[in-house]
Symmetry: none
Subunit: 241 residues, 4 copies
Amino acid sequence: MSDSKGKEFMTGPEKTEARKSRILEAATRIFSEKGFQDATISEIAKAADVSDAFVYEYFSTKENLLFSIPGEHMQKLHQDLDFHLKLIRGAVNKLHATLYMQLLYYSDHPEFTAVMMLTLKNNRKFIDTEAHRKIRGYLKIIDRCISEGVESGEIHADIDPYYLRAALIGALEHIVINWLLRKNPENLMDAFEPLFEVCLKLIHKEPEAVGCPLLSQIKCPPQNGCSGKSRFPVSANPEEA
Amino acid sequence: MSDSKGKEFMTGPEKTEARKSRILEAATRIFSEKGFQDATISEIAKAADVSDAFVYEYFSTKENLLFSIPGEHMQKLHQDLDFHLKLIRGAVNKLHATLYMQLLYYSDHPEFTAVMMLTLKNNRKFIDTEAHRKIRGYLKIIDRCISEGVESGEIHADIDPYYLRAALIGALEHIVINWLLRKNPENLMDAFEPLFEVCLKLIHKEPEAVGCPLLSQIKCPPQNGCSGKSRFPVSANPEEA
Amino acid sequence: MSDSKGKEFMTGPEKTEARKSRILEAATRIFSEKGFQDATISEIAKAADVSDAFVYEYFSTKENLLFSIPGEHMQKLHQDLDFHLKLIRGAVNKLHATLYMQLLYYSDHPEFTAVMMLTLKNNRKFIDTEAHRKIRGYLKIIDRCISEGVESGEIHADIDPYYLRAALIGALEHIVINWLLRKNPENLMDAFEPLFEVCLKLIHKEPEAVGCPLLSQIKCPPQNGCSGKSRFPVSANPEEA
Amino acid sequence: MSDSKGKEFMTGPEKTEARKSRILEAATRIFSEKGFQDATISEIAKAADVSDAFVYEYFSTKENLLFSIPGEHMQKLHQDLDFHLKLIRGAVNKLHATLYMQLLYYSDHPEFTAVMMLTLKNNRKFIDTEAHRKIRGYLKIIDRCISEGVESGEIHADIDPYYLRAALIGALEHIVINWLLRKNPENLMDAFEPLFEVCLKLIHKEPEAVGCPLLSQIKCPPQNGCSGKSRFPVSANPEEA
DNA sequence: CATGAATGAGCCTTCATTCAT
DNA sequence: AATGAATGAAGGCTCATTCAT
């Protein structure tokens, strides 16, 4: 009935997948609570109800386990976003939806978020990771929104899109970290409206243009004759190697 | 002779202070290189040319040593900023100077910056620290600039100043972290201009209003009849506990 | 077609034997390369292209696998030697042939030799092993040669045959170990001539008495009136329990 | 009074040395009993009455601890031998004394001997060790005896001295290993006489020339007109690198 | 004041071995 | 007959921290 079947009904590979999932969940929770170094594999294994050794069957090292955490999350977020963005017209509306969904995902997965923001983001080795590649892929969605907006004239062309994205992401993450560390605001989603108002300032559109979150498919495309030619080449930054 | 006296000329307390300083410098360097967990007290003590045990004379624990790193840096930055801001007129000019000086300080002290951005910022316990109090004090400077700008009409009043500050700081830190982890841009100060352009968008002023960094004391105060009454109480956020 | 049949043509028991053989070969190679402790069952199983668990079908433990290595080798060496010695006359010639064949076998099977000399010979438990019994059986061939020589007068009787054998075997093994560990000499067989000259000193015969290896069936039996009665009872040592 | 002072009377460095010694003794005993792999550092530390961590103060790794065992032993043996050989005339007498002392040392230190013969001698890495260098230095004493004997005519020149030494050492070690593993003979020194008789065969001297062990300083030098010119260059083997 | 010396506590990781299928 | 999957058990090694001197 529920989505977590009793163990006794699982077949071999099914059971294995479930155990792998439980390990990732446990790791996420415990890493988020105690940090990477203070968490122990034993602790995680016990929380996931598997043996210590089993953890190493699927995650070659403790660090590798850490780096494996974002995988599914990012994939899910990416997919959802891809799906929704197809339905939305207008770069600003797309950005709105993107930021909203991202914040919502963080809000719904505070432990994953803590691992991402407090442990992974600052890890030098993480950058060379498959998981980080996925994150960069995710960021390209935002880049695409921005360049679409620039092309269409929705977003003015006199701002470097790399720095625009940096400001959007930076502001969002700053908010998220304050939420994680200081419970401010208590509900992360309370931060969305003011945050997005700030973002609108960045992209120079009036707040009225946006309707209710995720449903704001108002007609907005190229309404003015703005050339759409940015001063900056789209994605000219070396970050997307 | 020079500003770094030879050890043999130092009196007792003088020598002690010098040793304390050397420990902090060594800790900063080594924490920035290897991270908190992978750095060892022995390593730091050796680099500072003191005994392991001496480290504990001044820093009760390894973590306490870490938390002691920002102290002098923040004090210096705070003082410098206080001095300069007195000479500058106009909220936007002040913000400009503030962000410039902050970025410059980071650029000049990459090891301290790495410790701050990659190790301290994400540490739950750091928040309850005297050092963090100093950082919050520093942030108030920005808040004061913002509220001054709102009062004067330089900064429009329809944006929550807390989120405005979050965006400014978030964007700046995002840039800094990319510089630390990915050497992008290679020289941090290259990021200042585009970054500040973004910031100007946030505060809704045209870039032309700003002259050369640190010297831009143009007349800007209340030029429009804007009431100067913000929708938001200044510093209404619980972060400044 | 060839002497190594393709797997697909093997019947059940035939295939099983082949797999057992592959395991022993792989174990020999890997034990010789990495030593007993650093070799893993998984590694051996993979090299033998069988599952880990299958190894345990035939070898109850890892140590048992180790102890199973000499079996076939010693049997082969024993048989060959038995065959050849029948064709050879004279104790000294027989000893010559024996030592030559042994050295040649080592030279041709360096991996087996490494396991024997570096891993098995020093293992306390190995002594109580069936494999070790075979080795002792092999040593009896040498004892028989010696006592035959003593009887016939070829080998003088004033030397304890146990210590004579110890010297022969000890010298040979010393040479072999130097070859294994230090590649000195590069080709083990280069050591045979000088080694055997030393051995001849031990048994008090002139080198000229020996012709080409393995084919030196010169007439040598009792040429002097030596009583042939040794001071020592043959095989009075407790080693042959 | 005794050579093991009570702990309470030791000063700092003295105590430390004593502890280091106790570790080596404990390691020797335990390695000899259980072999290298089955012995644990905890076990050794406990037997030496020090903490696990202290072991690592002086011996960086478990393997390094193993390799440190022969150091003092070889030095002692080397010194003793140097001292005695100065008093002895005649190469054969010197060899006699050398082998006797070596066997006696083994007999008196069975645990050290077990480590040497059963664990170190077969360790590939041991060869590149400082301790192994000392052993090679020790072997040179034997080489010097041999070449002295060849020069003087005591030892006949028609045998390769490298192989002669190999036979001497090989025979002796073979005996020692049998004593270690099979308690045959029960008292190692019982093996000396027959062993040396064998050795005399190798060097072609009559047993009568030798008196009681360690006291046999009979005049023996060059009595025959033997040329003393060996066919072999002394120490032409690459082992003495 | 300074420190050399000492350690307790703990964790990641490995594998031989087992057993359900 | 054959094996994939799972793990219990264990050990080398590290360091923050303490304390006698």
